[in-house]
Amino acid sequence: MKQEIVIAGFGGQGVLSMGMTLAYGGMVENKDVSWMPSYGPEMRGGTANCTVILNDEKISSPIINSFDTAIILNQPSMAKFESKVKPGGQIIYESNNILTPPTRSDITILDIPANKEAVKLNIKRVMNMIILGTYLGLNPVLKIESILKALTKVLPGRHHHLIPINQQALERGMELATQPTIM
């Protein structure tokens, strides 16, 4: 099975590390993976994104232009990626940051109040893990243990004590996946 995901938002929203966690999780489960960031001069206010491919076989091209899933964390990214989701694919987005929701009808669309939920968990920074949880809830391509193992790689040592709270966030996200606002 092959999963092609794009994750997009503001620079500070943990977009790149969410992608890396996913990729590392795939590697833990012996999938071939690739992670490709948008890169460039630091221009805050612009968008950052990364694409992740998880594949049971060898990945040929790491460069992809359409996606099974788009995880969208701000409005400019919605404008950029809505049209690039494959028919039958899905968009997961953070409610607070999106003023104009997507309008496509040939894909699944999920609206997750991850920021609010993160505030509830008392750590704003786990917003991205909530969304990732939702993604995994909807697409059980990786085990949560693999993601937790991935976090030990992605998080610097001094942040390893945060893994439990990240786990909580992932689990909350998976819960939300079962009760999404599907349009």
Partner: protein, 264 residues
């Protein structure tokens, strides 16, 4: 420009004077800079000076490679975008064929004081009658925060992860003091843009520099502006402006370094 509604309304705006407004010479588009970045302020000040001196139509600017690489999108004068480090060579080329035009170069510390060192020194040594604007933020902002020649001792950057070690990376480079000894340097000053007060002074320095050129004074007007880089320094804009005060200015003290007819 659409001015949005304010929380505090003012009933009699029409009876008041506009005492400050965005200069027309600053193109009315959002800038790409990070929030709080000093480049934007310097751009605006240059354009205020160009407007006040009424030289918009005879001014040609030279943009560097660095965060200000796009500055021609904001400064509404003819501009050339130079290769990394070569802004003053480009400015020399322009001034030599169009000596009646007003030429300025705009560079960051990596551009002017690292890769462009030779061009910097020799443009000044030739005494080209131009304004050189040098935005010293102690870091390579554009490429993601690597050490610049002007990075302070001990500062952590993405190429000095344990802080700048003088014995490995050498010393913060006081290039303004160094070039001030050249006869071709007509006016050398170091200013900042981290407060209203310093902004006012920088504007005055820029005005003086451009007037020097207009008056045909022989030599470069070199205006260093110590500036922040909130992103590269990994600080909020407010923190960065304070850090600038507390740390940068020790190594790069503000004030005139060389004024016509006397070396300070």
């Amino acid at each position: 420009m659409s001015k949005s509604i304010q929380s505090v309304q003012c009933e009699h705006l029409d009876k008041m004077d506009i005492v400050w407004d965005r200069p027309d010479t600053l193109i009315d588009v959002p800038m790409h800079y990070c929030p709080g970045c000093g480049h934007s302020v310097v751009h605006r000040l240059i354009m205020e000076v160009v407007q006040e001196l009424n030289i918009q139509d005879i001014t040609i600017g030279v943009a560097p490679v660095g965060c200000s690489v796009f500055s021609y999108n904001y400064m509404d004068v003819d501009m050339q975008e130079a290769a990394h480090g070569r802004a003053t060579a480009v400015a020399t080329g322009i001034k030599r064929v169009l000596p009646d035009k007003i030429i300025y170069s705009y560079q960051g510390d990596g551009d002017l004081a690292a890769i462009g060192t030779a061009e910097t020194i020799h443009t000044i040594n030739r005494g080209e009658n131009i304004v050189m604007i040098f935005v010293n933020n102690g870091i390579y902002g554009m490429t993601g925060g690597q050490m610049a020649p002007t990075t302070l001792k001990g500062s952590v950057t993405s190429t000095t992860p344990t802080g700048r070690d003088l014995s490995i990376h050498g010393h913060p480079l006081n290039i303004a003091e160094m070039i001030a000894i050249l006869p071709g340097a007509y006016y050398v000053t170091r200013q900042a843009v981290n407060s209203a007060k310093t902004v006012r002074k920088t504007k005055k320095a820029l005005l003086r520099g451009f007037k020097n050129q207009i008056d045909g004074k022989g030599g470069v007007s070199f205006i260093e502006v110590v500036s922040n880089c909130p992103s590269g320094w990994k600080m909020t804009p407010l923190q960065s402006n304070k850090w600038l005060d507390d740390n940068m200015l020790g190594t790069y003290p503000l004030g005139d370094i060389k004024v016509p007819e006397k070396i300070a």
